[in-house]
């Protein structure tokens, strides 16, 4: 891949990363991955292949047992949508979304306004005061997404953010995410199980294989079409999806 | 040969010389001679001997005159049957060199007084000498706070604190016996149930007589059997402590002076009871309408037991 020049920030580099948990499970083994600033990369792979573990290492939440992660800490602000909603049960939806803003010292009035915007963006206008336990599974995940979006991160890590959503909401949020990315050009790492989604969203699809987790394929998604309905119905898209599907099948067979 | 009758004496405190006569009687077989198989039960400062007696857990307890009067006031079915101490060894002690000539000089000093003291002798001191509640600090069975404060005074027993203070390095502490200042209850009263007094007078009489003989022997004979028993029941007891207490009791005539000199150990008189009661009434510690004849009976004492 060629170096893009849009970025001022450093490339996130994972070099010979392995992770063995204290119970002996090796989740990731000798993984190399470079994430260029401003790129949108999808991680695709079977359940349990170490995708979440890789994201956590990029974010610096866990340390690799071997190898080194560079560039992510220097990059600035990191946003993370965990695989589980990870909401504070004692806070309303709005309070949960406001959290990163509050932590960053944003003024209450502004924080409220921004949080309400984010809430509207994920289609939850009426639920600002609802507590997490009063929300459906998909709604909780959307609150979690909204929380990550308010932060205007430099690196955004998304761990299956749309898995619990219906296709129409999902399409809408896909487009919203894409628009946001195009506007802000943060580095995005997107874990998904949907081949279609990965192709639709990203510039590059990294396919992982399991036991131990490693990179098995790395597909560039090159198209001249602007992302959108046009792309989704194009022959390019269908072909790219087919290639990604095959890569996934290879990864699972290996 | 008659069977021995069981009798329990609850002293509600640890074994020490203040109860030496009882231990002496037990150790030298005086109780058995009077047909009794006596057990002495120890207790702790928080226990309530009167309740044990009323409940029938024990046959005799050691109590103060105040207890007897309170029992009369409340109609509790117990009464004092003998007074082993003619003089209450209660003292107020102070550090030497504070210019105490008499009890009055202690007024105004910080005073360590226990909770029960507040209900017994303190009202008397307050009324008669102008001691003030404001100066009172709680006494917690430790003389340490008192030792730490040169100007303080505290409650005590003539048989105990002067020696303890001596051991703590305070030579010649100043002590005033409250008895000498008009606070004149009996002490170490033997209490019994009214029921026993009425229905088993011989049993009570035997116990009293044997105890009196025990005291007589403890003070004027060889005290070592009693002391040995005390030390057996209270392994912490030191010889010098025992010795000091015994000497004090002997020399101060606590057991055998005053009425006891003529009537025998254990002596009680209506006049003394009345006098003490009046003191307490005027101190405001007791109401004026108690029928004090219920508090005690003279039927077992004043028989010159043990006197030649």
């Amino acid at each position: 891949m060629s170096e893009t020049t849009t970025a001022v920030e450093a490339t996130v580099r994972l070099r010979g990363i392995s992770k063995t948990f204290s119970n002996g499970t090796t989740a990731v083994s000798k993984l190399n991955l470079d994430l260029e600033p401003g790129s949108f990369v999808s991680l695709l792979g079977p359940s349990g292949c170490g995708k979440s573990t890789v994201l956590r290492m990029i974010a610096g939440l866990i340390d690799p047992s071997e190898g080194e992660v560079t560039g992510s800490r220097e990059a600035g602000r990191i946003g993370f949508v965990f695989q589980e909603p990870t909401l504070m049960p004692w806070g309303s939806a709005l309070a949960n979304i406001r959290l990163p803003l509050d932590l960053a010292g944003v003024k209450p009035a502004e924080a409220n306004a921004r949080a309400r915007d984010a809430l509207a963006q994920v289609g939850l206008e009426g639920f600002a005061d609802a507590y997490p336990r009063e929300l459906s599974g998909g709604m909780r995940m959307r609150v979690s997404l909204a929380r990550a979006l308010t932060t205007e991160p430099d690196i955004l890590l998304l761990d299956e953010p749309f898995a619990a959503l219906d296709e129409i909401t999902r399409f809408k949020l896909n487009n919203d995410l894409l628009a946001l990315w195009q506007a802000k050009r943060f580095t995005a790492v997107f874990v998904t199980h949907s081949v279609f989604e990965s192709v639709y969203l990203s510039q590059r699809v990294v396919v992982m294989a399991a036991r131990p987790g490693r990179v098995s394929d790395d597909l560039a998604i090159e198209t001249d079409l602007a992302r959108g309905e046009e792309f989704r119905t194009s022959a390019d898209y269908a072909q790219l999806c087919r290639r990604a599907s095959e890569a996934l099948e290879r990864a699972m067979a290996s | 040969d008659d069977e021995l009758q069981d009798a329990t004496l609850y002293i509600g405190w640890r074994a020490e010389a203040e109860f030496g006569g009882f231990f002496q009687a037990l150790a030298t077989g005086l109780y058995e001679k009077h047909g009794l198989n006596v057990e002495i039960q120890l207790g702790n400062p928080q226990s309530n001997p009167a309740q044990q007696l009323i409940a029938g857990k024990v046959d005799f307890t050691v109590g103060s005159s105040g207890t007897a009067l309170n029992a009369a006031r409340e109609g509790a079915p117990i009464a004092a049957v003998a007074a082993m101490f003619q003089k209450d060894p209660r003292i107020m002690v102070g550090h030497p060199g504070q210019g105490y000539e008499s009890l009055e000089d202690m007024v105004g000093h910080t005073a360590y007084v226990g909770a029960l003291g507040m209900a017994t002798f303190w009202p008397f001191l307050r009324e008669e000498f102008g001691f003030s509640d404001e100066n009172v600090k709680p006494y917690t069975f430790s003389i340490v706070p008192f030792v730490a404060d040169e100007t303080a005074i505290q409650q005590g027993y003539a048989t105990n604190e002067p020696h303890a203070l001596h051991m703590a390095g305070i030579e010649n502490p100043v002590a005033f016996l409250l008895h000498d200042y008009g606070y004149r209850p009996y002490a170490v009263n033997v209490m019994a149930r009214q029921d026993d007094i009425a229905n088993r007078p011989d049993f009570v009489q035997s116990f009293i007589d044997a105890s009196i003989e025990g005291w007589q022997d403890y003070l004027h004979g060889d005290a070592s059997p009693g002391n040995a028993l005390i030390k057996e029941r209270n392994p912490d007891m030191e010889d010098d402590v025992l010795e000091f207490a015994l000497e004090t009791i002997r020399q101060g005539g606590f057991v055998d002076a005053e009425d006891a000199a003529e009537l025998g150990i254990g002596a009680m008189t209506d006049e003394r009871w009345r006098e003490f009661y009046d003191t307490m009434v005027s101190a405001g510690a007791l109401p004026g309408d108690i029928d004090i004849s219920k508090a005690y009976t003279l039927q077992f004492v004043n028989n010159r037991v043990g006197l030649q």
């Binding site: 990870t86 932590l103 336990r133 | 909770a115």
Partner: protein, 263 residues
């Protein structure tokens, strides 16, 4: 605790109370128990009414110490737990000393406290505090360590300061534990105040219920003693209800132990 109708919440225990009192009185009457050993409710009630002036004054004194000790236990226990939570080393180093403070018998150190602390009230307060602070400390410490690991990661990620993590994550997570500790310490403050007064004594005027109990016991006024005990019990139950109510209000909307389940 979930919401229960006020009728049940108060009706049932009060009903049982009345029943107990009736059985108690019945037994005392039937077995002819000496009032010096166990007075019946009627006798206790009369003592309560007759000695109300004396007892209510003493109650006030005890309440003052209880209240102060409780506040100090909540603040002290909570703050020490927070201190401990800031560093594992501090916790490891100091927790054994907190345990020593908990187990040191008030009876034994009362004389020393009286020397070191000149003010008797203050000494009593210190004793009562010693009795009451540990459950809050212990519970809160566990609670502060019980916050969800994913949430902790999230806070770290968003650059939360130690202080922010403490106030916004660990403290809310610790709430159920803390509040349970508070409910335990509420009663212990009262016990502590009474025990302190028992062993560290009271000075003449302004003595609390413990002194009244001692005095009544000495004077063989067992019904009065029970009346004083009754006041202590009632105070304890009131403290418990109050702390439970506060706990319910704080946790009601989110914690399993307090939430009403949808049916």
């Amino acid at each position: 605790m979930n919401k229960t109708s006020p009728l049940r919440r108060f009706g049932l225990p009060i009903g049982l109370g009345i029943l107990t009192l009736i059985v108690w009185e019945g037994c005392v009457q039937a077995l002819n128990v000496s009032p010096f050993l166990l007075p019946g409710p009627v006798a206790i009630y009369h003592a309560l009414v007759d000695d109300w002036g004396l007892l209510s004054e003493a109650l006030l004194v005890t309440l003052q110490i209880t209240g102060l000790a409780f506040v100090c236990a909540v603040l002290g226990g909570g703050l020490i737990a927070v201190l401990f939570s800031l560093s594992r080393s501090v916790e490891t180093t100091l927790f054994p000393y907190a345990v020593i403070m908990q187990v040191t018998p008030v009876v034994a150190i009362a004389p020393l406290l009286i020397i070191w602390i000149d003010n008797v009230r203050l000494a009593l307060l210190a004793c009562a505090w010693l009795v009451a602070f540990f459950p809050i400390l212990s519970n809160t410490t566990v609670g502060l360590n019980s916050s969800d690991h994913n949430l902790r990661d999230m806070f770290r990620l968003y650059g939360a300061t130690t202080r922010q993590t403490l106030f916004r994550l660990r403290m809310p997570s610790a709430m159920p534990y803390f509040l349970t500790g508070v409910r335990i310490s509420g009663g212990l403050s009262l016990t502590g105040a009474v025990v302190a007064e028992f062993v560290a004594g009271t000075s003449g005027q302004g003595s609390g219920l413990a002194y009244r109990i001692l005095e009544a016991s000495y004077q063989l006024q067992t019904p009065r003693m029970f009346a004083a005990l009754l006041l202590i019990s009632l105070t304890g139950v009131l403290i418990f209800l109050a702390t439970s109510f506060i706990s319910q209000r704080i946790l009601g909307r989110w914690h399993e132990s307090a939430m009403e389940r949808e049916k």
